[in-house]
Amino acid sequence: MKKQQPTKKIIFHSEKEMPLAPYSLGSMLHNRTGAWRNIRPEINLENCIQCGICWKFCPDVAIYIENEYPVVDYTYCKGCGLCAEECPVKCITMVEEEK
């Protein structure tokens, strides 16, 4: 899986622009759920054994794989902490967000 790119919001300026039936026209990728996060996962790749468990259990598909290592996508990571909890070598730490 590659890094996902945020999309634009769909805005209708008048009723005429709306489809006749309520079908979907675009993806939720415009919704940057990273704003929900209080704590952020940080992966220490030095200790990572490339097991893919963090990738597998992320409910937000916010971990992608680059050069055979996991990378957290902070645009979308909601900070649930599942990846840090399940990493078998505990190389992910959750750190407080400051902002």
Binding site: G26, S27, R32, G52, V61, E68, C80, E85
Partner: protein, 306 residues
């Protein structure tokens, strides 16, 4: 990203395919189990899939009009009609010559155990060619944690407050479906994604009504820590509260994971705010019921085909 250079670049050891049909930006709470269920099921079913989703968490998670967080078409149907809408959609596709697309009814426990059971039973009896997935978070979570018939004994919900916690056991939906003698009934758990994936693949290659019951922890409704979601799923299997099994043709029962040592239910219950009020006697009652159900399941397997 600064990758550790001294190490050899081994391949990631992935146990599931890389393709994603669900993407980020969806509206699920942190640590949502239902979301993982969808992610794994779609990995197994692939692009040629259409979903019918009645009122449930997933009708919200997916996103409001005009957006969607899935790469497959979804039909939002009325609460009680998941199974029959899916069967109708399948029949329509057959009419236009599409025999390949898998139609999936995707409902929560409320839409399956309570409100949708009539339509589901009808579909199962006719053996209509759909996959029915129930992701079970054990209450009406989407509307504010009201009790459903999937809520386990002892649980707090907003309609079963601590003083009057639920005093009836969880409905045994798998046995009900197996009694319809449909080709495939299976339970699965988001903490065992490889097992879940295998079961969905297996279901994909069977014709007729296939029912998959997925255990999906809900941190907001269960009052658990979001990072505990996977732990809870594992404990549910290790305590035999939610055993993993398959039933073929309603008669051949097979248990997939038999814990070498059954953990006490207390370990599972005490991690959850919704059970924190339980007294030692109530926990003993739950243990007794779990043991009884497990013994019955073992017997089913032993005496298969029933």
């Amino acid at each position: 990203m600064n990758h550790p250079q001294k190490k050899k670049q081994n391949k990631m050891r992935l146990t599931l395919p890389l393709e994603e049909y669900m993407h980020s930006g969806h509206l699920a709470c942190q640590g949502c189990g239902a979301t993982l269920a969808m992610r794994y099921v779609l990995k197994a079913l692939g692009q040629r899939t259409a979903l019918c989703i009645p009122a449930c968490c997933w009708s919200v998670i997916d996103g409001p009009f005009p957006y969607s967080s899935l790469d497959v078409p979804i039909f939002h149907c009325a609460f009680e009609t998941a199974a029959i809408s899916a069967a109708g959609l399948k029949a329509g596709l057959e009419m236009v010559g599409d025999h390949e697309t898998q139609v999936v009814a995707w409902a929560g426990d409320g839409g399956t155990f309570d409100i949708g059971i009539q339509a589901l039973s009808g579909v199962a009896e006719r053996n209509d060619d759909i996959i029915y997935v129930c992701y079970d978070n054990e209450a009406y979570m989407n509307t504010g944690i009201q009790r459903s018939s999937a809520t386990p004994f002892g649980a707090w919900t907003t309609t079963t407050p601590v003083k009057h916690y639920k005093n009836r056991p969880k409905k045994d939906i798998d046995a009900i479906l197996a009694a319809h003698r449909i080709p495939y009934v299976a339970t699965a758990n988001i903490s065992y994604p490889e097992d879940l994936y295998r079961k969905v693949l297996k279901a994909k290659n069977i014709k007729g009504t296939r029912f998959i019951h997925i255990y999906a922890p809900c941190p907001s409704g269960w009052k658990t820590r979001p990072e505990d979601t996977i732990k809870l799923g594992k404990l549910a299997v290790q305590t035999c509260i939610f055993p993993l099994f398959e039933v073929e043709e309603g008669s051949t029962w097979k248990i997939n994971i038999k814990p070498r040592e059954k953990k006490p239910v207390e370990e599972y219950l005490m991690r959850q705010g919704r059970f924190r009020h339980l007294t030692a006697e109530a926990i003993a009652l739950i243990q007794e019921e779990v043991d009884r159900r497990w013994a019955r399941l073992l017997k089913y397997e032993e005496t298969s085909p029933l």
